[in-house]
Assembly symmetry: C2
Homo-oligomer: 308 residues x 2
């Protein structure tokens, strides 16, 4: 049995664009043509592949097909490159990559520019916690990810990228108000801290490192790298921020460190599908180069970290 | 029939913390106590309220209860304030607010600092497109939102905040490469642009404004306010960026405008539940003040915008 390439392209486009209408525009066909192709594909495979909604999403059965469509595109691009032709079947599909928010706001983007120098391909970034990025790799929604997971996801290769360095910072006014007698256990138990989201354990790790206790101070959730820094600047709470972003603010005295000189490092890894494709190789090399320029070098990490 | 306050607190904590274990830690009880309270509440109401998963989420039946728990907390805080006491039943619940990414990265955070000056409450931000934020208001997951929706969500009041101003920018190298003969229709149809996500229509609006055509250039998706700026700086594509963030980069010549002087404004609105509660009033006043400081003044908007 062979899959129909136009049906597969319609399937991939609906998932990428989120609706049958938008997929039709992207493929330059009518919405009813898209609808017919999806229906034919679903009848052929005997399964519902797309959960109709806003946006449309892959069903569980659809996920394996999504992965196949992504792989097909990468392989076709490779096969057609010597002819100077673009990939056909799933040409609407861009290079989908998951990356954690702090990496995207700091060292990651130059890698994409390097890929674009050599490959004429659109790039589709997913901002995800590293926990979730393994799931996206498995589902076939992304073909590579910046992850905190050192063990390869099934069907993937993994390489260490380096360590993202964090410092605990707050505004001078916040320090005067919440730590008038210095940064002791009692004050740390009361002073509000900022966390990125439910999964962000960095502040808790810092508290354990400093106090050897499991403190539960009040928490604000600020799921935005720069909102997170603003929240420290405006005295909402203290928080762990990427060293590169807060260095100029520390130098100017707009922020101060809770424990000067104390850092937490989060090791990051590059998870990519095991496919021999030039575009994936270029991407992996470019990401490694950007990581060398923007992260602390990797080492044997005692502190496997969970992080945004 | 009256709801048991400890059961309701357990319900709210599981949804906020994402798991029974984390809720137990937050409430200083055992996980089995949390589990028993949730079960008792579900048996009492005859419905499954929480979809067990990672993270746990409200079922459809649970959503209306979530809204009730949020409202209860706000009202209790109001009733107890004269006694100098904190709210009880749902004290684990923070003030949940939805805000679009670009607002959070620019003008919004000072409003939170002003609220914290007067109310001892934790803040829980949800970064959402304005489309989605109406849904979060209805579900009871947030009690206020920065939204592009001018019509009040059911049970909410709405007030105009102002207009967020965007400019189309790219790197000088990108301009030389993709617009060697100037910014004409043909070049605009080919030059890659950055979009924030599936829903981001700003680049398409700019293209229609400039060319009066529906062009479909290649698109990169970069769902991060600062990643979006990096993507322009590193020549990945052109994109519509908040004026405040790109002004210094334009002044330095690191970025240039595609159509100098041409701006797009996105009107933003403040949607909040219709509850007479001091903390909501303080928040609304603080958000209005921050918007006055950080946005263009509102006017009768011909351009209802969809935006990140």
């Amino acid at each position: 049995m062979q899959l129909d390439s136009r049906q597969l392209a319609a399937f991939a486009a609906v998932l990428h664009e989120g609706s049958f209408e938008a997929a039709a525009r992207a493929l330059h066909v009518t919405p009813s043509a898209v609808s017919q192709r999806i229906k034919a594909l679903e009848e052929r495979l005997g399964r519902v592949l797309i959960r109709r909604g806003s946006p449309c999403a892959a069903t569980e059965a659809g996920e394996s097909l999504q992965r196949h469509a992504q792989q097909l595109q990468v392989l076709e691009a490779q096969a057609l490159a010597p002819f100077g032709l673009e990939a056909g079947a799933a040409a609407a599909l861009p290079l989908s990559i998951a990356v954690n928010a702090d990496s995207l706001a700091t060292w990651f983007v130059p890698a994409l520019a390097a890929v674009r120098e050599r490959h004429d391909i659109a790039i589709d970034l997913h901002v995800e916690d590293q926990d979730h990025s393994s799931e996206l790799l498995r589902q076939g929604r992304v073909l590579a990810a910046v992850s905190a997971e050192p063990a390869p996801v099934q069907g993937c290769r993994v390489a260490p990228l380096g360590r993202m360095r964090y410092r605990a910072v707050a505004s001078p006014a916040f320090m005067r108000r919440h730590f008038p007698r210095g940064v002791d256990d009692e004050a740390l138990a009361q002073a509000p801290c900022n966390v990125f989201n439910q999964k962000d354990q960095l502040q808790a790790r810092f508290l354990r490192l400093l106090t050897r206790r499991r403190l539960q101070p009040p928490q604000h959730r600020i799921p935005s790298t720069h909102g997170f820094i603003h929240a420290a600047l405006h005295g909402l709470g203290w928080g762990m921020n990427p060293e590169d972003l807060v260095a100029p603010l520390l130098a100017r005295g707009d922020l101060v460190e809770l424990a000067p000189g104390c850092t937490l490092d989060v090791p990051l890894y590059w998870q990519r599908w095991s496919l021999e494709a030039p575009v994936l190789r270029t991407l992996s090399e470019a990401v490694a180069a950007a990581a060398r320029a923007g992260l602390q070098p990797p080492d044997t990490p005692p502190n496997a970290g969970e992080r945004r």
